[in-house]
Amino acid sequence: MLKAKELRWFDCNCMFGPAGQGSLFCFENPQQLETSLEEQGIGEALLFSSLAKLNDPQLGNSLLLEAVAGRAGLHPCLTLTPEMELEEGFPERLLAPVKSGAARACRVFPKAGSYELEPWIMPQTFSALNRARIPLLVDQDTVHWDDPFDWDQVHRLCLEYRDLPVIVVRQGMLAARNLFPLLKRHENLYLETSYFQLAGGLEEAAKRFGAVKLVFGTGMPVFDPRLPIAGLLYSPLSDREKEMVAGENLRALLAAAQGESL
């Protein structure tokens, strides 16, 4: 069996900034974050801003970009909200960090932000990301596996924007019934692995749809990264498949993105 340090881990699901909701840990500065990632053997992480999610998307995005600028393993992920594309200067100003390569992906929080994740909610933004193949992470604030998740919205989003890589984060065992039919149907749909704890689930997903559909994530600093790390290491996936899930799949998605074309 591969050891954790033999894999090049890239966490697609990591939060930066003060949490304000009493989780045990939060990464208030890049040094704290880098120390924690190093402790877990994770070399790179795609980060969203807690401030952008919980209060002020624009300010949170800006502070995140500023805080981690020039740090090789830390990749900002912009938080998007529907009102952004109604503002003056859209899309140039909003998507400028993606165009310049300062941000590598985007993320939406429809539940935390109280909006519908429908194709019509941010049509220009989604169309631009679709053209440039910028990954979009969909976070429905799942804590427990039986929390409600609107799979039909994900279906419509994937259907409307077929070149948009959509990564659903922190989905548990119910994904086996709801997500699997969508993974079969949509080439542009991916599952982040932090919470997919169904016994044999990674193996089943890889066998049916290919390990290329699985993207490693942790949910740090709220959730314990050691579960998805051990889950992948102990899974019966081949060493090659484990390398893909641990980091290569995400690197490939980011490499295929054409932010400069925005």
């Binding site: 045990l24 039986d146 169904l198 709220v222 051990a230 992948l232």
Partner: protein, 251 residues
């Protein structure tokens, strides 16, 4: 070279579940996953027994345990809605040499944890010095009374050692630390970063049992919480298998 810890899973299941398909439902595939994760034995309760048919589920469990001796152990499940049958059903189950305790699930059985119909269960466990694993005993004060009234029985509060967030008030932590016959297991899908180390500090390694909810949950994921934690090796050995071996009378 460091000896690998002995791993005994105190909280596992057998069968199928209504909310999602379980790929590893056959005992053969469960054993393969246990081998891969280095798990010596798992103590199972039947999901069928916790669901539609107590007797059928227990019978399936007895057969699975017989097919994989010393690897698959059993929790017998009583039906609280048929109290008059409980003693006889437990007697039947414990004719299997691999049965190790009794599993209660008030939520699945739609019967209150404090209900009087469970009294024959406690008496059976007290007479034989058996552990009882409950999905949730309800109020910690209730379990404290039971633990004092039935000192030969061992009481395990499931999941609490897993989902505790490391900061909220949780009376079960103090109860497990102070009451000799009360334990917590670690099985839970939710795991908060840093909470496990705080749990061990709060409860003590002697009163925590590794549980996974396997194959409902994945063994690898659940082992990560303990194996990759920063607690000491001695504490890991107790939690992963030492405590369960003593509780189940395994050599």
């Amino acid at each position: 070279m460091k000896r690998r810890p002995r791993i005994i899973d105190c909280h596992a299941h057998l069968g199928q579940y209504r909310h999602f398909p379980i790929p590893l439902r056959e005992p053969e595939r469960m054993i393969a996953a246990m081998d891969r994760a280095g798990v010596e034995a798992a103590c199972l309760s039947s999901l069928t027994a916790l669901g539609a048919d107590t007797r059928l589920g227990n019978t399936q469990l007895i057969a699975a345990a017989a097919a994989f001796p010393a690897r698959l152990l059993g929790w017998a499940v009583p039906n609280p809605h048929r109290p008059a049958e409980i003693a006889a059903e437990l007697e039947r189950c414990f004719r299997s040499p691999w049965m190790r305790g009794i599993k209660l699930h008030p939520m699945f059985h739609a019967y209150p944890a404090e209900g009087a119909n469970y009294t024959p269960v406690y008496e059976f466990a007290q007479a034989r010095g058996l552990p009882i694993l409950n999905h949730d005993w309800g109020a910690a004060g209730f379990l404290e009374k039971l633990a004092r009234r039935y000192p030969q029985a061992r009481f395990i509060q499931a999941h609490t050692g897993g989902w505790w967030n490391g900061r909220s008030e949780e009376p079960y932590l103090e109860l497990a630390r102070s009451q000799p016959n009360v334990y917590l297991d670690t099985a839970a899908s939710i795991a908060y970063y840093g909470a496990f180390e705080k749990l061990v500090e709060a409860v003590g390694a002697d009163k925590l049992l590794f549980g996974s909810d396997f194959p409902y949950l994945d063994l690898g994921y659940q082992l990560g919480r303990v194996l990759l934690s920063s607690i000491g090796e001695r504490e890991k050995r107790k939690i992963l298998g030492g405590n369960a071996a003593a509780l189940f009378g395994l050599g």
